[in-house]
C-alpha cells in the first residue's frame, strides 16, 4: 500500500471520529454545529502534552479526551434547555469562541533552543511524536483504525442495550423519557461529554498525523461537514456516519475524472439523494429491514 493510500485511509478514520461525535448527539436529539471545537481542544491538548512536555501519546490522548469532555460539559450546561436551531447556533457560537481563543493562544516553551508550542494564528508546528518514536505511516493507520474499531464496537454494544434505547427515546420523545424516570438533563450532559471526548480523541490523533495544527483547521466547515456525513450516511446505525465519510472522501479520491468539479458533482448528488432518502442512506427503516433479513 503506498503512502498516499495510507494517508487517505488515515484521514477517513480521523474524520470518522468527529462524524460519530455529531451522530451521537443527533441520536440523543440535538443537532450540534460545534463538535469541531472539541476536535480542536483535543488536538491542542494532545499536541501540548507530547511536544512541550514529552508526555507519551497514549497518555496525551487520554488527557485530550478529558479536556474534550470537560469543554463539552461546560458548553452543554448552559444550553440544556435549548432545542433545535437555538441549540445548533449556541454550539456554533461556542466552537467559534474556542477557535478564536486558539487564535489568541501564545504558549511556547524552549525545547533545545527552539520555541515549541501554539503560536496563535501562526499555528502549532512540530508535533513530531510519531517521528521521534519511529511510528511508520502504516502503523499509525493501524492505531487510528484500531481506536475507531473499539469505538464502533462500543457503539454497537450500546445500541443493543437499554442505554441505547434510552438514548434514542431521549432523542425522539424526551417528555416520555422523563415520565419513565429518566433524568433527562443528567443524561444529556453525559452524552454531550462523551461526544466531546470522542471528538477530542479524533483531534488528538489528527494533530499527531499532521504534525501541524492551526485554528483554521477547526472552523465551521469542519463542523458542518461532520454533521452532514452523519445525516447523509443515515442515522439508523453507527455505520451511517462512516458511510457518509466514505462517500465523500471516496468520491473525492475516485473522481480524478471530475478534477475541479468534484464538489459540484458531489453536492448535486447529495441534494438529489436527499430527495429520495431524506433520512440518509442507512436510515432506521433500512437498518430494520437489514436486521430482519439477516437476523
Amino acid at each position: 500500500m503506498d503512502d498516499y493510500t495510507v494517508g487517505v485511509l488515515t484521514n477517513i478514520g480521523l474524520i470518522s471520529f468527529i462524524a460519530l461525535s455529531a451522530y451521537l448527539l443527533i441520536i440523543a436529539g440535538e443537532m450540534s454545529f460545534g463538535q469541531q471545537g472539541f476536535f480542536g481542544v483535543g488536538a491542542y491538548t494532545a499536541g501540548v502534552a507530547t511536544a512541550m512536555y514529552g508526555i507519551p501519546l497514549p497518555v496525551a490522548a487520554g488527557l485530550a479526551m478529558g479536556a474534550g469532555a470537560a469543554a463539552a460539559f461546560l458548553v452543554g450546561l448552559p444550553t440544556l434547555r435549548l432545542r433545535g436551531l437555538y441549540f445548533a447556533m449556541a454550539t456554533l457560537a461556542a466552537a467559534e469562541m474556542l477557535r478564536i481563543l486558539f487564535e489568541l493562544l501564545h504558549f511556547q516553551r524552549d525545547i533545545d533552543g527552539e520555541p515549541v508550542g501554539p503560536d496563535g494564528t501562526q499555528g502549532f508546528r512540530g508535533i513530531r511524536w510519531v517521528f521521534e518514536n519511529g511510528v511508520e505511516p502504516a502503523g499509525y493507520l493501524a492505531l487510528v483504525w484500531g481506536m475507531l474499531a473499539a469505538v464502533i464496537v462500543l457503539f454497537l454494544l450500546v445500541e443493543r442495550s437499554r442505554l441505547g434505547a434510552t438514548l434514542r427515546m431521549l432523542g425522539e420523545d424526551p417528555e416520555l423519557a422523563r415520565m419513565l424516570g429518566v433524568h433527562v438533563e443528567r443524561f444529556k450532559l453525559g452524552v454531550a461529554a462523551v461526544a466531546g471526548a470522542l471528538a477530542a480523541l479524533g483531534g488528538a490523533l489528527y494533530a499527531h498525523h499532521n504534525t501541524y495544527i492551526e485554528p483554521r483547521n477547526f472552523d465551521i466547515m469542519l463542523g458542518v461537514h461532520s454533521l452532514a456525513y452523519a445525516l447523509i450516511g443515515g442515522l439508523g446505525t453507527v455505520f451511517g456516519p462512516l458511510l457518509g465519510v466514505l462517500v465523500d472522501i471516496g468520491v473525492l479520491e475516485g473522481s480524478r475524472v471530475f478534477q475541479g468539479y468534484r464538489m459540484i458533482v458531489f453536492g448535486g448528488l447529495v441534494a438529489i439523494l436527499l430527495i429520495f432518502r431524506p433520512r440518509g442512506l442507512l436510515d432506521e427503516r433500512v437498518v430494520n429491514w437489514l436486521k430482519r433479513r439477516f437476523a
Binding site: 494564528t121 513530531r128 517521528f131 521521534e132 511508520e136 492551526e214 483554521r216 469542519l222 461537514h225 473525492l252
Partner: protein, 133 residues
C-alpha cells in the same frame, strides 16, 4: 516484535539528531497548465543543506483539512545539495500547507505555508489580519 524493538533502538540512537530542527524553503513557478506548479525545495538541517533524503511533497488546505487530497509526488534530487524538484498539482489558488515528508535515513515531516497565485508561491507569515470575507 523484533522489528519494533529494532526501530525503537534506531530511534533512540538517532534521538540527538532530532533535537535539531529541519528547515525548508519552497520556490515555485507556474506552468502552462492551470494550478500545476514547478517547485524547487531546499532542505537544510542546522544550517547545512540536507541531501540524500527521499522527499515526498503533498499539500492540504488549512481550512477544510483532509478535503483537498492533492496526490503527493516524490521529489527528484535537484542540482545543488539539499535541493529537490517536484511538480505540484493543486486544485485551486490560495493558501496551502505544503507537506514535505522525508523517508530514508532521515525520517521527518515539515509543513510550509505558502500562498499560491498566478505568479508562483509566496511564504505566508500570518499577521493578525481578521479572516473576514
Amino acid at each position: 516484535m523484533a522489528k519494533a524493538a529494532f526501530c525503537l533502538v534506531l530511534a533512540l540512537l538517532s534521538f540527538p539528531a532530532f533535537a535539531q530542527r529541519l528547515q525548508g524553503e519552497l520556490d515555485c513557478k507556474p506552468t502552462k497548465t492551470d494550478f500545476i506548479y514547478d517547485c524547487k525545495v531546499k532542505l537544510s538541517r542546522n544550517g547545512q543543506p540536507l541531501s540524500g533524503a527521499q522527499v515526498t511533497v503533498g499539500a492540504d488546505m488549512p481550512s477544510m483539512p483532509m478535503a483537498h487530497n492533492v496526490k503527493p509526488v516524490k521529489a527528484k534530487a535537484g542540482k545543488a545539495p539539499g535541493e529537490y524538484e517536484a511538480m505540484l498539482d493543486l486544485e485551486m489558488l490560495g493558501e496551502w500547507a505544503v507537506k514535505l515528508r522525508l523517508a530514508g535515513p532521515v525520517k521527518d515531516q515539515l509543513i510550509l505555508l505558502y500562498e499560491f497565485d498566478e505568479k508562483g508561491a509566496r511564504p505566508v507569515r500570518r499577521g493578525d489580519k481578521p479572516p473576514r470575507k
